[in-house]
Amino acid sequence: MDVLHRRKTMNHEERLRRLLHTVAEEKIPNVMNPWPQLRHRLVTPHRSLRNGRHSIRRTLLLSGSALVLCAALLLLAASVSPATARTLAAIEQAIVGTRSVPNNPVSFQPAPPFIVFQPAVLPQGFSRIGERYNPNGMSDSQIGTVIPADGARSALVRARSQTPHVVIGYESTNTTYVALFQRAVQPQEVLPSGEVRTVNNQPATLRHDGTTRTLTWMQDNTWLELETDLEERELLAFATQLTITQRPDTTTAVSDGPAIVSYDLPLVSVEDALRVLPAQVPQPTWLPADVIVQGARVDPPDWLNLVYTRAGTNKDGGMSFEISRGSRSATTSLNGAETEVVQVNGQTAVYQRTVSGSAQRLAWEVDGYSYELSESRLGLTRDELLRVAESIR
């Protein structure tokens, strides 16, 4: 019996061994020779603060020139003939990669403990959709606010750093996005691995994840990361024209916790949100006790987010119901959450709950629209969340 048990165990162990090798080889069949890139990192003197102040003057000169030139072009464009305007637009396109509009930079208070960069101009069609400032470096998950998770919006809420940082999100009308993440360079910090690039004479690395590109570099002791689904050429143009917009102010006290400084999609009443949408939008008809509607965010014509909270408490928790056109449920999830397939009014849905139980999410699709019901730190049960979902009419 003991022999049989041991043999069975060995079979299982051997199978596990083979499976792990198969998984590993499937996930990473092979890699390009990493040596040139690694050697570049080892021999390039970009570590720590060694490249500190040497580029400030050059950056100021270059960015100042770009600003003056862009401003001049924009002023001229208003008073010249259409042909000249087209020529100027072409020149402008050569500078920033695409036609552009001036950007109105945001000022963070209290001033972050690092130099902040923002674009002098934005590619045409882009606008700043919001920014997050986390002065104490708490994990963004501790903020607990339920915000829609797409493009730049998701970059604003994603946990990215345990140090004070800012994230600024830009989106175009065709949902292309750019998220600009910044924090202070840490001692002995090195760039992440990736393809080697140069931004403003600083070494940079470019990484790909599907259509998402992330460009990372250090400039004037600020760690910068640009995440986008723009093409590389446009991404590099965006990175190159960033200019200093704010410097550390050592006299300003640091506030007690993280804050969303602004969010360009304002929270409005549900009635106001529904009024600007072209069609009747289903929404929950049942809510757990004490859970009330806090408001709505709307991005007509096909995106609505209803935000709920617990009445009479000041806790961070909330519930969110998001409806949007197209398939999105497969692209978002709660990291590390266990997944379960459930039914919501006859539709197959994915239910996820984090191991700690602090957040749960339910996503499904109906007639070409994605529905997502999520809850964080509100203390709802799985059944309550399902009941809310099934009450959507």
Binding site: L16, V157, V190, S333
Partner: protein, 194 residues
């Protein structure tokens, strides 16, 4: 003198190109191991590249009487565990969902395939991947070290600086949990040794 010893000697003299041989020999294995622990390709690449940079910086701490591989892979796994624990603490709303899809469940309830046929199916590796992701990082690491890197329990005890009995119980607990997760995903793909 082996090529590996030669490479380490060059490194200890400050010759950065001594690392090239070690990168060629260990990079892929280390990357796969780190990926099994982190489930994040970019994080795994960072972990491995940083580990090689540490090798370059701290090669003087390396005891040349010992084999390089286990020493290096231990530092990779430890770094991967740290990254995973940090990631587990953060709540991301932007990562792809674990690949538990309808076709998997259809296969599961279908039950027409023999066990061996099921094992060789792609869904099996998906199940292993999904189940691994749901283990705690430390459990993931011990599974990867034992079954992917092929360290014996004695070697594991040595690199983890703990008694063999502790490793045995950690492995047992990790296997039990992995078995539970796999059984939940698909009965009989792999069973625990109980």
């Amino acid at each position: 003198v082996t090529d590996e010893e030669l490479a380490i000697t060059r490194l200890q003299r400050g010759d950065v190109d001594g690392l090239q041989f070690l990168v060629a020999r260990y990079y892929l294995q280390a990357l796969r191991a780190a990926y099994l622990v982190t489930h994040d390709r970019m994080a795994a690449e960072d972990v491995v590249q940083d580990a090689f940079i540490r090798v370059y910086e701290r090669i003087h701490q390396f005891d040349t009487t010992r084999p390089f591989g286990p020493w290096f892979l231990r530092s990779v796994i430890n770094a991967a565990v740290k990254v995973s624990m940090r990631a587990d603490r953060d709540l991301s709303l932007d990562k792809p969902a674990p690949s538990t899809n309808a076709s998997f469940y259809e296969t599961l309830v279908d039950g027409q395939l023999s066990l061996d046929e099921q094992v060789i199916q792609a869904e099996t590796t998906t199940a292993i991947w999904t189940a691994l992701q749901q283990l705690r990082p430390a459990q993931r690491a011990v599974i990867v070290q034992r079954y992917y890197l092929g360290l014996s329990e004695a070697e594991l005890a040595q690199v983890q600086h703990c008694p063999p009995g502790t490793i045995k119980s950690r492995l047992h607990a990790a296997r039990i949990r992995l078995g539970e997760l796999l059984n939940a995903l698909r009965p009989n793909v792999i069973q625990t040794d109980d």
